[in-house]
Symmetry: C2
Subunit: 600 residues, 2 copies
């Protein structure tokens, strides 16, 4: 059956040994009080909560799904109590601003707790995840008054945030939205319009739902430059924060989906709802990007969490499943057959999943670290440097982690054989739940375009050079370690490949703007592979120092999985490089009608 | 929404232009009467049946699923009538032996009809597909008396066959089965045991169900050398072929699965059921392989069919979906945005799916052609040559077509964005329905082992040389065509890569038997890519001759998709080669316990 145990040992390894988080935290005022011991204690408590309260609701939530009845949404059995436990434990404000009642924990730590949440119950986790993004947005862009009014209650989990962007005709292309916001003259606005795919748009978990809504003012310029942002509560909020009348925010229906069935995906109609503007008129999309970037990393972590729980469950299965004998002769001659992990091809699938998961964990922490530096560091140059790295790495974190997470769930399902396809074993749910992470929050294609266009081409590769410089500093620091020479040499080769390819795509794009989209997906995947090679090299550099004196096998395993990554996964860059170099022409040559011949 | 139109033009291209099937058919006694006109007429009628009768039941069948009640299985609404239409149209015996009422159509033709069936309704198609395999098995291994008794009724579809192999503890490793067959003394046997995952093990489509069951005689030697094969009808069959008493074949339950929900996957209990032995005692597994090899190609075609319908539906969606502008400026300035196919990355996904689908179609036909030659050719050397190629290519047809089919359904789903995840659009069903094809009928891992171990290593690469010789004959025949030089050179490079890798794996395996399993998956994928390159080169060689004078655009598109394949897909061999060369050590180094650390 499916099992889940939070990988605390590996989380502590990443936090304390690979990135030495304690030192960083101590060096910044805002995080000075976060000691490694405190971080450990938080992770241990988080493990208990996710393993004991959320994981047991994962499959039942999938079987039951959300129910829509009379305009109301009912979450699966147990979700409400679990949400209460999360709220009462203070987890809803874990990364929140302490000035308004948040716990102020660094992102580097909260990404690890998020991983546990998604692993234990991805559907459930979307509710708090949206709230985290919404509070971050308000903290960054709302007035003092609004922050004081909304943040404490949202950190408590009594009110919960959503993100209302998409309309039926307007998904990726937000310039097309039609939802209107008309000024009432008293500083508030009346919102009218239809939003779709609103995660947690309506449900029974919290006392109130705080929608953050993109809409257009009557005189707004067309396109994305005419989008404003509004806070629209489901129930109106009185001055004393008591709840008032229904604010005409109607749930029209919920979607029937491939997976994440415990997450309510709603049609939300604003039928003359009262809203407050957040930030400047017509600058709403920029403000919303604060939330979207947060959610993009979060959704990346959804991919990781599902990859991890899928791996763990497949290993549980593989230990019990006896089929055939090892190629070198029986390993368990007293049993009718050997456990399936004696077969090299089963190990290949398991190691693929594990190599992705552990690199994804390190990479998410690395991005979390840059987020913390960009927010809390005393030195402006350092903040800027980290913020630029975050901008570069966010689309990779979203797309590459979710692509590898999906791949990990598929590999894990395959290890089960036929049982992997039967619902009772749980493996197939992870595949279905992971698939959405590649689609929502900006499809992975959009992430690839964002990386290639805005984060690479637009600055002539400047952000890429920040990244390669960081890697080269690591290479220089470990250059004298003979145990690292082979890995470092391979990493250097890949860096050179990435740099050369970056230059070529930039040059090609100057001649033809279609080159960005043509290169985007393969370029992001190649970049992701190089970034994961960096993570594996960093992890190996710690492990080589400790493997000999270690009796637990932890560090030895790290080196073995690192080997698998370098030898059996990293070569994928060879193919991706050629695919990028193939350029746009081959993609654009076929006339559009030739794609539709069957429709004639 | 989902749409399906049988790709008749492409099927005719493959059949008549690429492989010149008419010439082959005319050269062999058994197929002499099959003219291209007859084949066309059959495909056109097949298209009508699948588009109009089966496709409309696809999504409703998925939503409704099969129902298990009081030991009986009820298929989704409409399945019974559709099955009747299929039976009455003579389609159940399309490839059957004419001596017993079959239509005797060549495999090369029936693979194309099978593709239509799977594309239109994969769940439904499993019922007739199993019957095709069962009748083939009986035709090859049963006595004259049994053939005369069972085949005509099974070709009529009034009785329908199944395949009963797996038991709860015994999937891949059939040597472990426990189902017993005890001789009654009158030439019949009493079967007792539990089988699981029996596709179509019980349902309401036909008058009787004919189970082909693997079981052990009381004195059977252990392992796979002690397996015999039995025919066990659900209802006993009198001498005059009228139906008699219930034969104690009980359906215990049906599985709840990720997909193919209209296909009943049954627990079947033989509770003292009467059976007849087929073939020799203890030689049942070899006989069953006649059916399994048939089903393996058939399941490959399931991957193709689902890839095709997913592609078609995604293109339908993409034509209507307007989001953002083309990178070079508006293509439809009169509309609020351009159709999404203006974006290179959307085209990349569409072309990937299409390049796979069209190569899979050609490859399935190529394998079908070898099957026909191996069965019907007058020259024994030719028959042997073709049979050896079939042995080599069957695992590739099963694993590579289904892997690429799954990839195609995922690419197609991604083109839809969020709609791809919502059930109403149908794209997500194709992903779920395609996923099983990588798992059942021998997991794709098992196919890879079969290729690497039995089909490559065991004969020292002899079968591989038959294949490369065939490709080199094509290369020689087109060597003087300047339009083919670049493609041919790339194909030759890939052939050399395949040959060198084959030699290396054979050599490595002599030193370490684990090398087979370590290389298997990547080797099969590399082989598949080379085989598809051969298919694309063959298709291109026809198209280059006709593209200039063609106004339909068909041949021009062929060359453009071929280009996409050669430039943006085939480079994957570079990565796979390195992964194979990495060898077994990296996979086997980690102690088993290190995979299970979270279970401690």
């Amino acid at each position: 059956m499916a099992i889940y145990k939070a990988p605390l040992r590996d989380m502590q390894f990443v936090l304390n040994e690979v990135f030495e988080a304690g030192k960083l935290w101590q060096s910044m005022d805002a995080t000075q009080e976060v000691t490694p011991d405190l971080a450990d204690a938080i992770l241990e408590e988080g493990a208990k909560l996710t393993e004991n309260e959320l994981f047991p609701l994962n499959r039942s939530g999938d079987e039951e799904g959300c129910r829509f009845e009379g305009g109301q949404v009912f979450t699966p059995k147990g979700f409400k109590e679990a949400y209460q436990a999360l709220s009462e434990g203070g987890w809803m404000g874990l990364g929140g601003n302490p000035e308004y009642g948040g716990q102020g924990m660094p992102k580097m730590l909260t990404v690890l707790f998020e991983e546990m949440l998604y692993a234990a119950n991805a559907s459930f986790t979307l509710y708090p995840s949206l709230n985290n993004g919404a509070t971050l947005l308000l903290d960054s862009h709302a007035s003092e008054e609004i922050k004081a009014k909304y943040l404490p209650t949202m950190y408590e989990g009594r009110w919960i945030g959503t993100m209302c962007l998409t309309e039926p005709h307007s998904g990726t292309d937000l310039g097309l939205i039609r939802t209107k916001a008309e000024p009432k003259g008293d500083g508030t606005y009346t919102l009218t319009g239809n939003k779709i795919w609103i995660t947690g748009g309506e449900h029974d978990l919290a006392e109130n739902i705080i929608h953050l809504v993109l809409a257009k003012l009557p005189d707004a310029p067309p396109g994305t430059k005419g989008i404003s942002l509004f806070l629209v509560p489901k129930l109106k909020v009185h001055e004393d924060n008591s709840l008032g009348d229904f604010n005409n925010v109607n749930c029209g229906s919920i979607e029937h989906k491939m997976g994440i069935k415990g997450s309510a995906t709603c049609v939300i109609n604003f039928d003359g709802s009262e809203g407050i503007m957040i930030g400047e008129p017509n600058r709403g999309l920029a403000a919303m990007f604060t939330m979207m970037n947060y959610e993009r990393l979060s959704i990346g972590i959804q991919g990781l969490g599902l990859g991890e729980v899928a791996y763990q469950s497949a290993m549980d299965f593989s230990r019990e499943r006896l089929q055939s004998r090892a190629p070198t002769g029986p390993k368990c001659p007293d049993k009718p057959a050997d456990p399936i992990l004696v077969h090299p091809d089963v190990r290949r699938m398991a190691l693929n999943a594990r190599a992705f998961n552990e690199a994804s964990r390190a990479f998410a922490s690395y991005v979390g670290m840059q987020l913390d530096i960009s927010k809390y560091h005393s030195d402006e140059t350092q903040r800027k440097h980290a913020a630029d790295l975050v901008a570069l790495l966010t689309p990779i974190a979203k797309a590459f982690i979710t692509d590898r997470g999906f791949e990990a769930t598929v590999e894990a399902q395959q290890i089960y054989g036929g049982s992997g396809y039967c619902r009772e074993w749980g493996a197939e749910q992870y595949v279905r739940d992971a698939r959405i992470a590649q689609i929502y929050e900006g499809t992975n294609g959009i992430q690839c375009m964002d990386l290639m266009g805005r984060k690479v081409y637009a600055n002539g590769g400047e952000f890429v050079r920040l990244f390669t410089k960081d890697v080269r500093e690591f290479l220089a620091a470990t250059a004298n370690n003979p145990a690292m020479q082979a890995r470092n040499a391979q990493l250097e080769t890949e860096l050179v490949r990435l740099e050369a390819l970056t230059e070529k795509v930039i040059a090609a794009t100057k001649a033809n703007p279609e080159e960005i989209g043509a290169a985007a997906a393969d370029y992001l995947n190649l970049f992701g592979l190089v970034a994961y090679a960096y993570m594996w090299a960093k992890m190996a550099a710690v492990a080589v120092e400790k493997a000999d004196s270690d009796t637990s096998g932890f560090y030895q395993s790290k080196l073995q999985v690192a080997d698998h990554y370098f030898k059996r996964i990293l070569p994928r860059t060879l193919a991706l490089e050629q695919q990028v170099l193939a350029g746009a022409e081959v993609l654009m040559a076929m006339p559009e009608d030739a794609f539709y011949t069957h429709l004639q």
